[in-house]
């Protein structure tokens, strides 16, 4: 059967649209979102990389470390309010069940899902080029093995990664 032109274009268009649904909202967050630096926890030196990306484990990832929180239900969606200090680093202040309507000037909100004692924000992977993996792995392993992750968040609490800061260096891929 020969495909018909208009329908074929519709099918290709749908695929482009699906890609668009992935790209456009995130581009909007990157251009208009609020910048927050999130601290990561020290790394297990044997488990920094899974395949082609670094696993990011934030200070706000462990649910028990979060202050002022309701009873966290499994798979529940929660909003973590962070206050941004003078260095741009976001520190958790409270956890809310619904999107907070009013935020202070120095506050941002990040939407996460509670899973088995962990909060997942959809920003737990950082993909790196093949040629830089060893270098960044070494930096993460050295010293305090801590890193800062620069994210942009929108008013709905959706976060997108901008860059990775390790040992005073900034990586953005």
């Amino acid at each position: 059967m020969k495909p018909k032109m208009p329908w074929f274009l519709v099918a290709v268009g749908l695929q482009l649209l699906l890609l668009g649904f992935m790209i456009v909202p995130r581009m909007m967050i990157l251009t208009g979102g609020k910048t927050v630096l999130l601290e990561t926890e020290p790394y297990d030196p044997y488990n920094i990389f899974t395949g082609y990306y670094a696993n990011l484990n934030y200070k706000i990832s462990q649910a028990e470390h979060l202050p002022v929180k309701p009873h966290l239900k499994p798979r529940g969606i929660y909003y973590v309010v962070v206050s941004i200090d003078k260095n741009g680093i976001g520190r958790p202040r409270r956890v809310m069940e619904a999107l907070p309507r009013v935020l202070k000037e120095d506050e941002a909100v990040i939407r996460g899902r509670h899973e088995y004692g962990w909060m997942k924000y959809g920003i737990e992977s950082y993909y790196l080029p093949e040629s830089r993996r060893h270098e960044i792995e070494a930096l993460l392993r050295d010293g305090k093995r801590r890193a800062l992750v620069e994210v942009k968040v929108n008013d709905a609490g959706k976060a997108v990664i901008v860059s990775l800061h390790v040992a005073g260096r900034r990586f953005s891929y």
Binding site: M1, K2, P3, K4, M5, W7, F8, V10, A11, V12, L14, Q15, L16, L18, L19, M22, I23, R26, Y52, Y53, L56, K120, G122, I123, E124, S125, Y126, Y127, L128, P129, E130, S131, R132, V160, I161, Y173
Partner: protein
């Protein structure tokens, strides 16, 4: 041991599926034979010409060429797709994010454009179709690239579902069975991943997969799509209900397996179902039954089943009985089969085994385990012999090999289950190997004789 046996059964069943090549081989042999018959004066030139027309022998060369071209183009497109995926994985920093994205989206659009153009210009060539499949694979690479650019850490099954949506839509528009089969596989993989988070994902799959894919199978008479839909539906059902982590119990496995066997079989008997779909559904019914009787031929499992109290029918899993009810309802509208003795006998054996196996959970008392195991082993042997005989009589390789392999696995399974010495095990293996080889020779000899007879 059970696992290994099942894997072998499944792989062989799938590989042998549709392997009835008798008619094709006969056509390939015919041109050579015709020359001999002409030389020997058995037929004259007019008859030879009639036979050539009847069996479309002039198209043979073109058909072989098409297969060759399809294979070359197929391999080529797989290599290109792998290249694009490796490009994405390499995460080349010399090109900006948007540059990389434009490159891969561009590659997808070029492949679609060329595919569409070739398909319209040269519909007889498989190149157009293969390029469209390649473009859809690149669409998958695009999803991966976008996930990488924005450092998304979501679940992989979301990406798989996204690809499956695009591929299914394109499959429908382009009328492409291979794309639909790939989408069925992707959907299944996606649901397997999703179900690890939410077990409720499986029931969605049971409903969604047939609703999405079967209309294509029926509209286009696409046997592969129909078969793949039900095959993965069945595997999904097993994955959902088998007690991997203490969920469910082996006893319910009996009902589930029974429900699945009867559902496939009865559904295949419906009047409006095309004959080749019916045949595939009966095949899946038999395949499910083989796996089921073979699992229960191990005494450990039977022991676990009969150790439980008599089934009480107040469980949510009552739905299984609803399925059984539907199966029986289907059978009410069964097609009246013309009196093919082999079919009637095999159908009788099939129903008898299904009924007897369903009785196992009700066995109670000290004799329940040995009797249950004996019943399951007898059922395995009877089913094996029936399939072997049916395959040999109607010359269908699928049934023949299923029967023979089931019998061999029965022997091998018993030797491993009951502490036999290495010497006995070696004897069992050698015996099993010899039986398989002898069976193969027997089948091919018989088929060759039938073909000569037919010629």
């Amino acid at each position: 041991m059970i696992g290994a046996g099942l894997v072998i059964l499944c792989i062989l069943g799938y590989v042998l599926y549709g392997a009835n090549m008798a008619r094709k081989s006969f056509r390939r042999m015919l041109p050579g034979e015709l020359e001999h018959w002409l030389d020997d004066g058995i037929i004259d030139k007019t008859q030879a010409e009639q036979l050539r027309t009847r069996y479309r022998l002039d198209q043979l060369a073109q058909e072989s060429q098409n297969v060759l071209i399809k294979t070359i183009f197929g391999f080529g497109s797989v290599l290109i797709a792998l290249g694009v995926i490796a490009f994405v994985a390499a995460h080349w920093e010399s090109i900006t994010k948007m540059g990389r994205l434009s490159l891969v989206v561009g590659a997808m659009l070029i492949a679609y454009g060329m595919g569409f153009w070739f398909w319209r210009k040269r519909p007889e060539s498989p190149l157009g179709h293969i390029l469209v499949i390649l473009a859809t694979l690149i669409f998958g690479a695009n999803i991966a690239l976008v996930a990488q650019i924005f450092h998304l850490s979501g679940e992989f099954y979301n990406a798989v579902f996204l690809w499956a949506i695009g591929a299914t839509f394109m499959g429908y528009i382009a009328g492409s069975s291979p794309l639909l089969i790939l989408a069925i596989l992707a959907t299944f993989v996606g649901y397997m991943g999703w179900a690890q988070d939410y077990i409720q994902a499986f029931p969605v799959h049971f409903l969604a997969a047939p609703l999405v894919f079967l209309p294509f199978a029926y509209l286009k008479k696409a046997r592969g799509v129909h078969f793949a839909t039900w095959l993965f539906w069945g595997i999904g059902l097993i994955a959902y209900l088998v007690p991997w982590e203490g969920k469910g119990s082996p006893m319910w496995l009996v009902f589930i397996a029974e429900a699945m066997i009867l559902l496939f079989w009865s559904y295949g008997q419906l009047r409006f179902i095309p004959e080749e779909f019916s045949s595939d559904l009966r095949f899946l019914g038999i395949l499910s039954q083989i796996i089921f009787v073979y699992i229960l031929s191990f005494h450990d499992l039977v022991e676990e089943i009969v150790a439980q109290p008599v089934p009480v029918l107040n469980d949510w899993r009552l739905f299984i009985f609803v399925v059984l009810g539907i199966a029986i309802l289907f059978a009410r509208f069964a097609k009246a089969r013309q009196g093919v003795t082999e079919e009637r006998i095999s159908e009788g054996v099939f129903w008898a085994i299904s009924l007897i196996m369903a009785a196992i959970p009700w066995l109670q008392g000290s004799w329940a385990m040995p009797v249950g195991t004996l019943i399951a082993n007898l059922a395995t042997v009877i089913l094996g012999v029936m399939l072997f005989w049916k395959g040999l009589t109607i010359l269908d390789r699928r049934y023949f090999w299923m029967g023979l392999i089931l019998l061999v696995l029965e022997v091998v399974g018993r030797f491993f289950e009951y502490e036999a010495g290495l010497l006995w095990k070696s004897a069992a293996f050698i015996f099993a190997g010899l039986v398989l080889m002898a069976g193969g020779v027997l089948f091919e000899k018989r088929r060759g004789r039938e073909m000569r007879h037919e010629a």
